[in-house]
Amino acid sequence: MPKHQIDPNKWINLYSDYLFNYTISRVSDRDIAQDLVQDTFLAGLKSMKNFKGEASERTWLISILKRKIIDHYRKINSNKGKAEVRMNYNSDTESEGDWLEERVADPFDKTAEDSIQNTELGDAIHNCLSKLPPKQAQIFTMKTIQGYDTEVICNELNITASNLWVIIHRARTSLSECLKENWF
C-alpha cells in the first residue's frame, strides 16, 4: 500500500468545508466551528512530523478535530462547572391528552435520529463535492449551499451566466451520480 503524503498547502482548499460541516453539526455555532477548524489546521501543522501516512490526510485531520471539539466542550463545561439540566414541567393546565404521556415523551429526543442522518448526509455531500473539479465544487457550493445570486457569482469569478449554468449542470450531474452510489 502506498503511503499517504502530507501537503499542508492544499489543506484549506481540500478539507476546510468538510471539517467545517463536521464541526458545525456538533457545536452548532459558526464562529466557534470556524475557530476549531482553524485550530485543527494549526495543530496539524505543528504535529506534521507525527503523520505516519497510515491514514489519509483527511482522516488524520478529523482525528485532531475530534480532540479539539472534546476540548471545547470540556472548557465550556468547566466554566459553568455543570451540565444544564433541562426540566420541562407542563404548567399549561389547558393542555389536553394523556397526563403521563406528556411527561414521558422527551421533546428534545425526537429528532435525534433525524439529525444523525442529516449529519451523515452532509458528510456524504462533502465527500462527493471533494471529488469534483475545484471550480465546479466552488460554484455549486456558492449557488446551492450559500445561495448567492447568479449575478454575484458571475461578477466575483468573472464568468458569464451561461458559463455558470453549464458548470452547474456538470456539477449536478456528477453529484447525483456520486450520491446515487452512496446514498440514494
Binding site: I12, F20, N21, L45, N118, L121, W165, T173, S176
Partner: protein
C-alpha cells in the same frame, strides 16, 4: 447516466437547462410549461429531472454548511503565515 442510450438533442439541452434553473426557482412559468411538455415524451430528461430534484432535496435536508469565501481567505492567510514560520 443512462442518457447515452438516448439521443441528446438541442431541445434536451434546453430542457435540462430549465430544469437546473427550476432547482433554484429561477425559471419562468412559460419555461416550466415547455419543460413539462418535453418531459412527457423524453425519458432521458425525465431521469435527469428526477435525479436533479433528489439532489436539491438532499442538499436541503442535510442542512449542509460551508465556510464563506471571506472566512476561508482569512484562514488561508493565517495558516500560510504559520507555515512560513515553520519552514524557516
Amino acid at each position: 447516466m443512462s442518457d447515452k442510450n438516448y439521443k441528446m438533442n438541442a431541445s434536451c439541452e434546453k430542457a435540462n437547462h430549465v430544469c437546473d434553473k427550476t432547482q433554484y426557482n429561477e425559471a419562468s412559468l412559460w419555461e416550466k410549461i415547455k419543460l413539462s411538455i418535453h418531459l412527457l415524451y423524453c425519458k432521458a430528461c425525465r431521469e435527469y429531472t428526477h435525479n436533479n430534484k433528489k439532489l436539491t432535496k438532499a442538499v436541503k435536508n442535510s442542512e449542509v454548511q460551508c465556510l464563506d469565501c471571506k472566512a476561508k481567505e482569512t484562514m488561508k492567510e493565517e495558516f500560510h503565515a504559520e507555515l512560513e514560520k515553520q519552514q524557516h
